[in-house]
């Protein structure tokens, strides 16, 4: 995936598309967009930085997973087997990008912040009580050659999840939800090894960087049109990111 920081408006449409496509509960941001600020008034600068899972070629999370629940597919996508994860959260501490999310709560609790009242009889009559009501059935399917439950599904309590590059869409030949929705087309998806793929074409001849390249993780998310965030960057406009902190 290529991300053009020169285009990104920081609108977080990708964040929202991801949440809806993958039915993630509140405070879970498989895709996240930093809104950053540096400098002192009036020499202030603002920048935006989308942060999906970096799907590293040398993923620290895969290396440390004790049960092989976190694995690296041949096509480069790093996935979690939700049936195998034991919830030790080692992947989460090993990942320098902070892309992992543990299901601290049961799904119905986790969606409670979204005020969806799944047990509401009037609503259940329409949705069959699904959690969430816009539940995507593709997530329940087993994915890929490995036929594993890797696409998010019910966000079981006690397992770790993260961005899957929308494996359920990629398997059908579609781009990830974040890429499709980006209003300014700042995200480009494709096979980096294929020189004719849209992403390779997009990257050709542009200055690039990868996040925390010095760690040797070799991410397959490549940023163009900007510079890596400096350690002085301060986050502004943070969403509500705690669990159970909605205005209930």
């Amino acid at each position: 995936m290529a991300i053009d920081l020169d285009r990104c408006q920081g609108c977080r449409a990708c964040v929202e598309a991801c949440k809806i496509e993958n039915n993630t509960p509140s405070a879970v941001f498989w895709m996240y967009v930093f809104r950053l600020e540096e400098g002192t008034y009036p020499d202030t600068s603002i920048s935006f930085l989308p942060r999906p899972c970096q799907h590293c070629h040398n993923p620290p999370c895969v290396k440390v997973c004790p049960t092989g629940a976190r694995f690296h597919r041949d096509d480069g996508i790093v996935l979690t087997d939700f049936d195998r994860c034991i919830g030790c959260r080692y992947c989460e501490v090993a990942c320098p990008y902070g892309v992992n999310f543990f299901n601290w709560r049961k799904p119905e609790q986790a969606f409670a912040d979204y005020q969806l009242k799944m047990d509401d009889p009037d609503l259940a009559a329409v949705t069959g009580g699904l959690i969430p009501p816009y539940r995507n059935p593709d997530l329940d399917e087993l994915q890929g050659d490995e036929q594993r439950r890797t696409a998010g599904s019910a966000h079981y309590k006690g397992v770790v999840e993260k961005c899957t590059f929308c494996v359920q869409r990629v398997e059908k030949g579609l781009d990830p939800a974040c890429v499709v929705t980006c209003p300014v087309e700042a995200l480009v998806f494709g096979d980096l090894e294929d020189p004719n793929s849209p992403v390779s074409t997009y990257l050709r001849g542009r200055d690039q960087f990868k996040l925390l390249e010095e760690l040797g993780t070799d991410p397959s998310v490549i940023y163009v049109g900007g510079t890596p965030p400096t350690p002085d960057a301060r986050e502004i406009e943070r969403p509500m990111t705690g669990v159970g902190n909605a205005n209930a």
């Binding site: 993923p59 895969v62 290396k63 997973c65 092989g68 694995f71 041949d74 087997d81 490995e146």
Partner: protein, 69 residues
């Protein structure tokens, strides 16, 4: 060598082989990240490793406890 010694050494060897085999062969092989490394080649291989440890150390039990003929 006594039967006790043979069995004990045998158990240690069996344990060691189990450990070495399950660790280097039966479990997920020595690759860093590939999809094939996410599954052990032989399911329950890690259990076999533990079994190897158990067998090896059980040899001490056998050695100590086994009745003399």
């Amino acid at each position: 060598m006594t039967k006790r010694g043979v069995v004990t050494i045998g158990m240690i060897l069996v344990g060691a082989v189990l450990m070495v085999w399950s660790y280097f062969v039966g479990a997920a092989p020595w690759c860093a990240t590939g999809v094939e490394c996410s599954n052990p080649r032989v399911e329950w291989a890690p259990a076999l490793f533990v079994l190897g440890v158990v067998v090896a150390f059980s040899s001490a039990l056998y050695y100590s406890i086994a009745k003399d003929k």
